[in-house]
């Protein structure tokens, strides 16, 4: 165990590139990414238990004929889950990037840090225990749960001599998540019917979610995500470290609070719409960072695009991978994202 000092990342010599070639290249990449989002969305409408052609999918959106079975399937089943997957994927990925910047912790993710655990505990309590069924009401529980859990995790994780090291934040998040999961199970344990619903909900899935839940949370998702995207400059400064940021004239406490509020709102909203979906916020920003480098203005924009593609593609995978029945997308993202955590943990910069 070496004496731990807050990991001082080497200040990159050229974090922010203004060379026109770089800017044009990255913008073009972003446009290609947007085109891919459209392509994945189309695939998501087409793939599934019932085969649907591109033309039928097109008609279902722009020229809806409710007598056609295929168009009905697209409208009532495929479209909601595609929209939810796109929205939640983008939002979760961007919050992951924001958390990684403000905690200067490469392992930050809303599921690892217990934020989505808090939200889902509050939602399960509201729906199954207090009998609240309207999404207009239980989304507020999600915000409260996410807020309490994240404040607790950061209070405990940032305490002590060394401040918020990745490992302390991770352990605080893991333990608070497991405590909340135990309480959630205790709540649903007594009633078999509730347990049946809750166990699928707790796995995290975008399938079979009513679209009206998504409409309730979409303002938070969209506004929150856009706000995050425009924080790139602040996050660039923050990621140089507390002291550097302050000496550059930044009000770091204010930036932290703004980012924290955005993270809580977005995670609460995404959890209300899709259940706790983990590791999107961990994996996507790291993939993006590996390709385009450490400039947060680009990382955030790319995270939105890649996050949407990632979760939608994972959801398509859920539908085609099993011969009968479906996987829950939360399981796929955990199975794909947890090795990321292992990979990052082996890097010397993270530990310790």
């Amino acid at each position: 165990m070496a004496a731990t000092s807050p990991t001082q990342a080497p200040v990159p010599s050229e974090v922010v590139s203004r060379r026109p070639a770089v800017v044009i290249g990255r913008s073009a990449g972003l446009l290609i990414g947007l085109a891919l989002v459209g392509f994945v969305a189309l695939l998501s409408l087409r793939f599934g238990a019932h085969p649907i052609t591109t033309g039928q999918a097109w008609n279902a959106i722009f020229d809806y004929d409710s007598s056609s079975y295929e168009e009905l399937v697209v409208r009532t089943l495929r479209m909601p889950r595609t929209v939810i997957a796109l929205g939640c994927g983008a939002a979760l990925a961007v919050t992951g990037a924001v958390m990684q910047a403000i905690t200067r912790n490469p392992l930050a993710d809303s599921s690892i840090l217990g934020v989505s655990g808090g939200a889902s505990f509050a939602i399960v309590t509201a729906i199954f225990y207090l009998g609240i069924t309207s999404p207009y009401q239980f989304v507020w529980f999600a915000f409260a749960g996410a807020l309490i859990a994240s404040v607790l995790v950061f209070a405990v994780g940032a305490s002590g001599r060394d401040g918020a090291t990745p490992i302390k934040l991770t352990l605080a998040g893991v333990v608070i998540s497991s405590l909340l999961a135990a309480w959630t199970s205790a709540l649903v344990l007594l009633d078999e019917q509730t347990m049946e619903v809750a166990r699928f909900w707790m796995a995290g899935s975008v399938a079979g979610r009513p679209l009206d839940v998504f409409w309730v949370v979409s303002p938070f998702l969209i506004v929150g995500t856009l706000a995050c995207v425009f924080l790139g400059h602040q996050l660039n400064v923050m990621s140089m470290g507390e002291e550097t940021a302050r000496s550059l004239g930044m009000n770091t406490a204010r930036t932290r609070i703004i980012c924290g509020v955005l993270v809580v709102l977005i995670t609460g909203a995404a959890t209300a719409a899709a259940g706790p979906i983990g590791f999107v916020g961990l994996a996507v920003p790291h993939m993006v960072r590996a390709v385009i480098g450490p400039d947060y203005r680009w990382i955030l924009a790319y995270s939105v695009v890649v996050g949407a593609i990632f979760l939608t593609a994972a959801d398509i995978l859920c539908r085609v991978v099993l011969e009968n029945g479906e996987l829950q997308v939360g399981i796929v993202t955990a199975l794909a994202g947890a090795p990321f955590l292992v990979f990052l943990a082996r890097k010397r910069t993270v530990a310790i």
Binding site: M1, S159, S185, A186, A338, P339
Partner: protein
């Protein structure tokens, strides 16, 4: 200033004769036990005995304290004999044995990594055992091999964590984080398996994943007892090697130890203990994390006698938690939820104090 005379007269003290200790030494092993810690053990065992009897008086059918003691010997009336001997005694024994086994396994892992935040539940070893066990239960394989399957799950997980975090040496922080990642991966697998089955079929497995000693029978007690009889003394004996390892690899090597073999033995014993507990009671959390720490706080650095004390303390704690979960809550809950409710805040407090330097 007078010259101190070199005390040639003093006989060289044999290392066995450290005051306040008793040494058991023979050809194969040597254990030095601390009288003070042995006294604490005896005191806790007394407490545990009282708790055991008290636990058996409670329930929808109340039995008086004296009647419980008579019923254990089979001298009370028939009804009381039946209730105590076939219903309450196995459960009480399972609870206390599971507690002892879990706590000792936690102590081994914490000692091995030299970090108080490590325990088989945090670094995913229990998750590995429980994934195998859930598969075993869900697909209806023979129940008799369940402990072996859980052990295999635990040992494969421990080996993967060790191999993946090995980079010429083990850095505790990296090992913990790798374990957390592997644990997340495996628990996603467990969720996947449970979602494949209808609720009526999988409910036992789900309840089991919360950790409970409900419905234990004498077969479970037998298995736990035998494992503890084998692995308990073994882990007490291994404590000397563990302490030598804690001084650093160079000193260990200088003492003529085979380092990787010693580590392997400790990991095998730790995994064995964890797997037995998990296969009987499910992944009961936080006992393995909290109890070794409390024991070290009360009795001092890890040694053979402190290992014994850890076991006794774990037994007392889990039995008490089981009594609380069974009788003193508005609804009956699996004991794993009670230990989480106590253990998670304790862990956060440890983290907050940063006592456990990570």
């Amino acid at each position: 200033m007078t010259m101190t005379t070199p005390d040639f007269a003093m006989p060289a003290r044999k290392p066995d004769d450290k005051p306040g200790h008793v040494t058991i030494r023979n050809r194969w092993f040597a254990v030095r036990l601390n009288y003070r810690v042995l006294g604490m053990c005896l005191f806790t065992i007394g407490l545990l005995a009282l708790l055991t009897v008290w636990a058996m008086t409670l329930g929808s059918y109340r039995i008086a304290f004296g009647d419980v003691i008579r019923a254990v010997g089979g001298n009370a009336n028939e009804e009381q004999n039946f209730i105590v001997q076939t219903l309450r005694l196995p459960r009480v024994f399972s609870a206390l044995l599971v507690g002892a086994v879990l706590a000792m396994s936690g102590a081994i892992f914490q000692g091995l990594v030299r970090n108080a935040l490590v325990s088989p539940d945090i670094i995913g070893i229990n998750t590995g055992a429980s994934l195998m066990a859930v598969i075993w239960i869900a697909y209806g394989f023979t129940a008799i091999w369940l402990p072996l399957a859980a052990f295999l799950g635990a040992i494969i997980t421990a080996a993967s964590i060790y191999v993946i975090s090995w980079k010429g040496r083990i850095v505790p922080g990296q090992l913990i984080l790798v374990g957390v990642g592997i644990g997340a991966f495996l628990s996603a697998g467990t969720t996947w398996v449970t979602l494949q089955f209808p609720i009526e079929q999988i409910r036992p497995a789900i309840v089991w994943t919360l950790g409970s000693v409900y419905g234990s029978d004498w077969g479970d007690v037998q298995l736990l007892g035998i494992s503890l009889l084998v692995l308990g003394p073994l882990s007490v004996m291994l404590m000397w090697y563990l302490r030598a390892l804690q001084l650093g690899d160079d000193i260990g090597r200088g003492l003529g130890m085979h380092l990787e073999l010693t580590r392997l033995a400790l990991i095998m014993v730790g995994c064995g203990l964890a797997a037995i507990a998990v296969s009987i009671a499910g992944p009961i959390g936080f006992v393995a994390l909290m109890i070794p720490h409390v024991a070290r706080m009360l009795a001092g650095a890890l040694s053979g006698s402190v290992m014994l004390f850890t076991g006794v303390l774990g037994a007392t704690f889990l039995l008490f938690a089981d009594v609380v979960s069974q009788h003193f809550l508005p609804v009956t809950l699996p004991v794993g939820i009670v230990t989480a409710a106590v253990g998670a805040p304790y862990f956060l407090y440890l983290l907050y104090r940063s006592n456990a330097r990570v």
